[in-house]
């Protein structure tokens, strides 16, 4: 069997630069600020698997050189165009290059075993050493020199600076500088591996001198000054200890010292550590939240991005299958489904007539629906829509005195944007009709997260490939039916949900919380008048509640909401929620936590963003403990 390319995770750092750049989807560059270097710092946030590291990697010398060399050939031409628009390349020249500094390894070991000032100084020393070493390596790659032997062909000149010179030697040749930095790193590791007394030979630095060094130094290769600006890119900043993250931000976010600094980290909702910086957003730094950027981007931009990734993966497999989306049926027009619904239509019609009985207001609506010649599925949606609107009309406090039947125009006017979608969901739920199918819905289920999308595609690809190899010659194009897609996605959702207790600390609490939220959303979604059409898919925290959770995080286990704060943070970190920060409604600001779209398949919800319900902290705490209070048989929210 062909290897399932959707199961391969090669985007981040493992694949060679030429493969990475060939399969890089440039649409993601459109979510970056167009004036990329207007501020000296950029903060990039997303859930795990959102594509942060891949986005940073395209700026590093290896992929950049590949793109420049092949700029006249597809698919590099598109990438080159996007990078040129950002001012990163200019025809055959790199105008900037990224120096990737992962924060995942080593730093978090610098901990309480050392006195605070020593810890900070050691941390800065390790960061400085790594920036230096990575800069030298990046420089060699950018100019096609062998590292480290090629350092001998590079000389450096320093611009005089008003700032005191730090620990990085300014008058060493690059070979000696490399040896110095490796020695610093080595001594740091020796300290981290020791248990007991502090080593007297600790490298201790009082500032992030490497960033200043990068702004002062000019590199000269074969008599020509390197024009490309360096960008120091810290990846996985959330992996640092809280004080390390705070130190990095406070000393580098508004440094204005020349070299650009980017930070990539996981999305926070409840962040107990303050940034302690006077840096001002959009003046000193730009912030990009990837999922939110996708959700507010132009229509179909995210769809184009991920289908581009999917198609490139399909091309990798060389199985004559090309466009991923084309193999997924996007209708439920098969005869079996239509027949099932057709048999249910008389009952639906009768239900609506019963709802409307005693009033002639709805006669025109009913008459239009009864005489419609649409396909059974469309008719079913129409009956359900009418049912929702009749229920709403009858619930209005002030009854209308107008006895004339409401017209079809009135029907359209009362149909809000979410009602047809709600009606479709009702029909699919009541009559066991597939709902999650087609490339657009599959993309929506990925919650604007590339890794989620690939996991979903991996499952569907197995069905596509199975069809390809088992169908007989001449039996038509490969097409996975809506039912198979729906069943596969529902099964994947169930598997994800069941695995939650195992996957991370507070997994059991997270599962109970997600389950209660899912049940509440389902209850609200299927109310006969569909008050929150197309459906409810999330909860919201008020500003006060969010502050209470932040305080709980700071206070520690003594605070009654500490476990809840930790559970919600873990859920966000694991991409179980889609976060919408600073959501404004009713003159208030809310943090909205939508369920990961895949869980919408688990709880029979809509795939749209949908509505939300405010839930008190006390109730959320109950839910995370498996207690779901009800009043009048309905789940209570406060």
């Amino acid at each position: 069997m062909a290897r399932n390319a959707f199961a391969i995770r090669t985007s981040e750092t493992s694949s060679p630069d030429e493969i990475f750049s060939r399969y890089f989807a440039p649409e993601v560059l459109s979510i970056l600020p167009q004036d990329l270097f207007a501020t000296s710092a950029l903060v990039l946030r997303s859930a795990p698997g959102g594509g942060k590291t891949s986005l940073l990697r395209i700026f590093t010398p290896g992929p950049l050189i590949q793109v420049i060399r092949n700029r006249h050939l597809s698919p590099h031409d598109e990438i080159h165009r996007s990078l040129a628009q950002l001012g990163v390349v200019d025809e055959a020249t790199a105008l900037a290059f990224g120096i990737l500094v992962p924060c995942a390894s080593g730093y978090a070991e610098i901990g309480p075993q050392l006195e605070e000032r020593t810890s900070r100084a050691l941390f800065r020393a390790l960061v400085n050493a790594r920036i230096i070493l990575r800069s030298l390596r990046a420089l060699c790659t950018l100019h096609d020199l062998d590292y480290p032997n090629g350092l001998g062909t590079i000389t450096c000149e320093y611009a005089a600076s008003l700032f005191d010179e730090g620990p990085i030697p300014r008058n060493a040749d690059l070979g000696a500088l490399r040896a110095w930095a490796e020695d610093v790193e080595s001594r740091c590791f020796a300290q981290l591996d020791a248990v007991g007394n502090t080593s007297v030979d600790l490298p201790l630095h009082m500032q992030f001198d490497a960033v200043l060094w990068l702004s002062q130094v000019s590199f000269v290769i074969h008599g020509r000054t390197v024009a490309a600006k360096p960008i120091v890119m810290f990846d996985d900043v959330h992996r640092l200890r809280p004080w390390q993250r705070t130190l990095l931000y406070s000393e580098l976010l508004d440094h204005r010292q020349g070299a650009s600094v980017w930070f990539a980290e996981r999305t926070y909702v409840i962040n107990p550590s303050e940034l302690l910086t006077g840096a001002i957003p959009r003046r000193d730094y730009e912030e990009v939240r990837m999922e939110q950027a996708w959700s507010t981007a132009k229509s179909k931009q995210y769809l184009n991005f991920v289908t581009s990734i999917a198609n490139r993966r399909m091309a990798q497999m060389r199985t004559d299958l090309e466009s991923f989306g084309d193999y997924l049926s996007n209708t439920v027009t098969d005869y079996a489904t239509q027949d099932k619904i057709a048999k249910a239509l008389p009952e639906m019609e009768q239900r609506v007539r019963d709802l409307a009985s005693g009033s002639g207001l709805f006669d025109e609506w009913i008459s239009s629906a009864a005489s419609s010649t649409a396909e059974p599925f469309e008719k079913a949606i129409e009956w359900t829509r009418i049912g929702i609107l009749i229920t709403r009309e009858k619930q209005k406090v002030q009854a209308s005195l107008d006895l004339a039947p409401l017209s079809d125009d009135d029907l359209e006017a009362r149909t809000g944007s979410g009602v047809p979608a709600a009606a479709e969901r009702f029909v699919c739920h009541r009559h066991d009709v597939p709902y999650f199918y087609g490339i657009e819905r599959v993309v929506r289920l990925s919650s604007y997260n590339v890794e989620e999308f690939l996991q979903i595609c991996a499952v569907l690809y197995d069905h596509i490939y199975a069809q390809k190899i088992t169908r007989s010659r001449g039996s038509g194009p490969v097409s996975v039916s809506a039912k198979i897609q729906n069943d596969a996605l529902t099964k994947l959702a169930e598997k994800r949900f069941k695995e939650l207790p195992r996957l991370f600390a507070l997994g059991p609490q997270a599962q109970r919380l997600i389950e209660s939220i899912g049940l509440m959303c389902r209850e609200k979604t299927y109310e006969p008048n569909a008050p929150y059409a197309p459906g409810v898919t999330g909860i919201a925290l008020s500003t006060q509640d969010r502050e209470a959770l932040v305080q709980a995080g700071r206070d520690g286990p003594g605070n009654p909401y500490f476990e809840l704060a930790s559970t919600i943070s873990s859920c966000v970190a694991q991409n179980l929620f889609e976060v919408r920060d600073n959501h404004k409604q009713d003159n208030k600001t809310w943090v909205v936590l939508y369920l990961n779209r895949l869980f919408c398949a688990q709880f029979d919800l809509v795939y749209h963003v949908g509505g939300w319900q405010r839930v008190s902290l006390r109730r959320l705490q109950d839910w995370s403990r498996g207690v779901v209070p009800r009043a009048n048989e309905k789940i209570t929210l406060v």
Binding site: A7, I8, S14, E109, P112, Q113, A181, P501, F504, G507
Partner: protein, 395 residues
């Protein structure tokens, strides 16, 4: 290779060895055990004491309740085990040390905590002739750290017989795949756990461009751990280790069935790269790893060097095999061309509800350092080996 020949005693040989070992001369024994819920906690200690009831003995028991969540069944078993330990080591012979896994920043570092817990070992280790580390009920991070610390102190790499320390170090455990699979693991960490002095430093600049060869030791229910370790280590080559000669003859098939998509789809592992290791014999895996690492080291010279990452996710025996290989390679390996370390993600919660009341297990004792590896013993072995060759020539 240091552990060639090795000393391993299993089942009936376990008792026979300890009886003779304790009869040979007066011994002062220190047991280091986990004060946990695993029903195997008492097994090795009970058996050894029965072989030499008059031997002076003491026990250091590690209480891990602060760092690991459990269920009611596990708590009950834990209390029962502690009572049993108090019976085996009455009066002041039992010392319980509490492992505090989280530091003041709220960061969890089990390995460093274990190292700190035994930071005073140099003050008391010389009081004993034999240190017996029972890993049956200890979490992997704890016993790997502990054993690495003790080996670092006892082993002299520059000596003619590096393992011939004056103090004997034994690793004992009760092997049972049935009990291992009955213990349910939850709350798997998302990141690699730091392992004091044993962890692989993936971001070390000096070795950044070197290829990474990953040796994950496979088991049935470790897909999530493998996924997370794989994402962090980004290996260039993978040599999975498949346990064989298990009590369940189909175990290898079951493991491949469970992990096939991960190995062959996600990582394109070549089946010829799969190492097979006898489940209960750590030294056999140790040898395989040493030989394989040597071959890779040779062929990857052109790439500047190689990084070997070991991930023991399976039985205790195989974990010890990984430890011995990592320890020796780190001690005497060519630092200019090789890095060796472990990569592990731990589970923070264990549940014991499915453990049977009287589980069966096999006792194993591995003698990893001490008098049997000393110059005298080494000479005697060499002479015996030479004599047998002379005999063969005569024939």
């Amino acid at each position: 290779m240091w552990w060639d020949p090795y000393n391993l005693y299993r089942s009936d040989q376990f008792s026979a060895f300890w009886r003779k070992h304790l009869e040979d001369r007066e011994r002062r024994l220190l047991f280091i055990v986990g004060a946990g819920f695993d029903p195997r906690v008492m097994g090795p200690a009970k058996e050894i004491i029965a072989c030499g009831p008059d031997a002076t003995r003491k026990c250091l028991a590690i209480d891990m309740s602060e760092g690991y969540g459990t269920d009611t069944a596990a708590s009950k078993l834990g209390k029962k085990n502690l009572t049993g330990l108090k019976t085996l080591f009455p009066d002041d012979r039992l010392e319980v040390r509490e492992l505090v896994t989280t530091d003041t920043d709220g960061i969890r570092d089990v390995s460093r905590s274990a190292a700190v817990l035994f930071a005073d070992f140099e003050t008391w280790i010389s009081d004993y002739t034999d240190i017996i580390v029972d890993i049956s009920a200890l979490p992997r991070l704890v016993y790997l750290t502990l054993l690495n610390t003790l080996l670092t102190h006892l082993v002299k790499p520059g000596s003619e017989t590096p393992l011939g320390s004056a103090i004997n170090l034994h690793v004992v455990y009760a092997e049972s795949a049935v009990i291992d699979s009955a213990i349910a693991k939850f709350e798997i960490d998302t990141d690699l756990a730091p392992i004091q002095s044993l962890g692989i430093r993936l971001d070390e600049e000096a070795s950044l461009g070197w290829p990474v060869v990953w040796f994950p030791v496979l088991a049935e229910d470790v897909l999530e751990q493998l996924t997370r370790i794989g994402e962090r280590t980004n290996p260039d080559e993978i040599c999975p280790v498949l346990p064989i000669q298990s009590a369940d003859a189909r175990r290898g098939d079951n493991i491949i069935n469970a992990l096939g998509e991960f190995l062959f789809d996600r990582y394109d592992v070549d089946i010829r790269d799969i190492l097979r290791a006898t489940e209960w014999n750590p030294f056999q895996l140790y040898r395989s790893l040493m030989q394989t690492m040597a071959r890779y080291e040779d062929s990857l010279k052109l790439a500047g060097g190689a990084k070997f990452v070991l991930s023991p996710l399976s039985s205790k025996g195989l974990s010890i095999g990984c430890l011995l290989a990592a320890f020796e390679k780190r001690a005497i390996g060519n630092r200019a061309a090789v890095r060796v370390g472990m990569a592990h993600v731990e589970s923070r919660r264990y549940e014991a509800a499915k453990i049977q009341s009287n589980p069966q297990y096999q006792l194993i004792s591995a003698w990893v350092a001490g008098e049997c590896y000393s110059v005298t013993a080494h000479k005697k072995q060499t002479e015996e080996a030479q004599q047998s060759l002379v005999g063969a020539d005569a024939k």
